[in-house]
């Protein structure tokens, strides 16, 4: 393995190479040794390869971050732990259903935002599923006889269906349905970005608006294709095909490097119930100072590890770490330090004790004589 790694420029390039190789192999199988390859989709195929390479590179650089690495490492360790099988399965299923499929947390940020995101997300994922299936040749349609179509998945014949049945129509129009979903979602999102002044505070054109315009261009040009061949007898069809292809290529190349990259990192949310918080909103670790629960042991261990990996020295004089205290205690500790109130409280009627022994006149007049460096009377006599 080490020798294999050494023969590449870097680990990332090795992974990218193997991803490309595997994809190429699946194309080879799916298209029956390139017999059924769809030449009209060649541009899409090439950009999909670039998309896969870009995604691999971004995933690798993301996993290189100490924080991500630590969390992923713990997740993998917990996944292998046989005692935690039940907790693992529950957290994976729960995250997959509530967090990824239903996207409940976005609906709680607002119904409008929830609907908008749900439409964009599932429209995009559906479109990706269909287009990748077709461009990589994993899926194709064969004409069995003049009235029957058959879906061929990975060069294996599967379902047959009537060429003009309801099921067949739904499959043919799958991309149109998902495109309409994305179109509605993107229009809602753009309207929100234009109307809502709050989101304008931190929004950036290249990060927040560009992907929306890109998705809009892709869906509009894609839907125009359908309009062109159904209602306009293929008017301008060829040019629209080219425009659509360009927009899709730009989107696929942009995907791993922009806002849309939040899609492949979302499954990490499983780590929260799996590693850190078994029950929602229930903390288990008590604060070292006040005893209130604020986190879990595993999470604090991770946080300390991540901070140490990046040379953050947050250890106190007594050997404990700032992460051992709850956030409220941390705030208080800092203020008490700054106000010099941490020291043990002495005689409230005596002069104020300060760290440097310097006082403002008037706070407490009486001082020990050493402070003034005046030789004592007895010493003078002798």
């Amino acid at each position: 393995m080490q020798r294999l790694e050494k023969s590449f420029y870097s680990k990332t390039s090795m992974y990218a190479f193997f991803v490309t190789l595997v994809l190429f192999f699946t194309v080879w199988i799916g298209t029956g040794k390139f017999q059924h390859i769809d030449m009209a989709l060649l541009g899409y195929l090439l950009s999909s390869f670039i998309f896969a390479i870009g995604l691999t590179v971004r995933m690798c650089s993301w996993l290189l971050r100490p924080a991500t690495y630590q969390v992923v490492k713990r997740s993998l360790k917990n996944l292998k732990d046989k005692k935690r099988v039940k907790r693992n399965i529950i957290s994976i299923l729960k995250t997959a259903f509530e967090n990824i499929f239903l996207q409940k947390f976005i609906f709680k940020r607002g119904i409008y935002r929830g609907v908008q995101h749900f439409l964009i997300a599932w429209g995009c994922i559906g479109s990706f599923a269909i287009t990748f299936g077709l461009t990589f040749g994993w899926m194709r349609f064969d004409l069995v006889d003049s009235d029957t179509y058959q879906i061929v998945v990975m060069d294996l014949p599967t379902i047959t269906m009537k060429a003009h049945g309801i099921f067949a129509e739904m499959i043919y129009n799958g991309l149109n349905i998902t495109a309409v979903m994305v179109l509605v979602g993107v229009c809602m999102a753009l309207a929100r970005r234009i109307v809502d002044k709050d989101v304008k505070v931190t929004q950036r054109f290249e990060f927040d608006l560009f992907p929306l315009y890109l998705l809009l261009a892709v869906t509009v040009s894609g839907l125009l294709l359908t309009v062109s061949y159904t209602f306009l007898d293929g008017w301008m069809h060829h040019y629209i095909t080219l425009i659509h292809q360009i927009t899709v290529v730009v989107m696929l190349v942009y995907f791993p490097f922009g806002k849309l990259f939040h899609l492949p990192i979302r499954p990490l949310a499983t780590a929260v119930p799996m590693n850190y918080q078994e029950e929602w909103k229930v903390d288990t670790r008590p604060c070292k100072k006040c005893g209130a629960t604020y986190s879990s042991d595993e999470q604090i261990e991770d946080v300390k590890g991540i901070l140490q990996a990046q040379n953050f020295d947050l250890q106190l004089a007594d050997g404990s770490f700032l992460a051992d205290y709850c956030p409220a205690c941390r705030r208080r500790m800092r203020v008490m330090k700054q106000l010099n109130m941490e020291a043990p409280k002495g005689n409230p009627y005596g002069p104020i004790q300060t760290l440097n022994g310097i006082q403002i006149s008037g706070f407490g007049k009486k001082r020990s004589d050493e402070f003034y460096n005046i030789p004592k009377e007895e010493e003078k006599v002798h």
Binding site: F105, D198, T202, I265, P327, R331, V335, L339, S361
Partner: protein
């Protein structure tokens, strides 16, 4: 952004208008992002306001597994990006000052962003613009330096002078209001 935030804990009177103002800020969704707490309730009724330090190298951003905490070009550390935040709360426990807050319902972290829409244009953040006792101030860097010098001078009345080896001992440390 040429101005800076200047906090004087001793000046806080605990009126919590900074928190009320924070709730009004655009993008804060009616939730305050700053704190007003008692220093040591059993000893005194002294309260203190607490905001984000806007670290140059923020621990919260470093412990975020999703890389969701971004810093603007002015140096303001923003709340976790909503699309990236996975809701693990590492930032809350990594922050040495205990600043980030977490919204369990919406599954996102939110923290003081110095009212980015205002401070971007050198307008005082909401909390600083309402504080009646000047515990939170949004002032020029030079003004802050003058205030700090004045505080240090108050410690020199007895004639001791800071030396090269111990000058950090002369930062103000009293309980009391020093500025005019």
């Amino acid at each position: 952004m040429r101005k800076i935030m200047y906090l004087e804990f001793e000046r806080c009177i605990g009126c919590r208008s900074c928190q009320a103002a924070c709730r009004e800020c655009g993008g804060h969704e009616a939730k305050e992002r700053n704190y007003v707490e008692y220093v040591d309730f059993m000893e005194s009724r002294q309260t203190y306001p607490m905001l984000c330090m806007q670290c140059k190298d923020p621990a919260c951003a470093r412990v975020c597994p999703a890389n969701a905490i971004q810093i603007t070009e002015e140096g303001v550390v923003l709340s976790a990006m909503e699309e990236k935040c996975i809701g693990c709360r590492n930032c809350t426990f990594g922050c040495p000052f205990g600043i980030p807050k977490f919204d369990f319902e919406a599954n996102k972290m939110y923290k003081c962003d110095m009212c980015y829409d205002r401070s971007k244009y050198d307008i005082a953040p909401m909390c600083a613009s309402v504080c009646p006792s000047d515990a939170i101030r949004f002032i020029d860097f030079d003004e802050m330096q003058a205030l700090r010098r004045r505080r240090a001078q108050m410690n020199l009345v007895e004639g001791k002078k800071p030396q090269e080896g111990n000058k950090w001992e002369y930062v103000p440390e009293f309980f009391g209001v020093y500025t005019d």
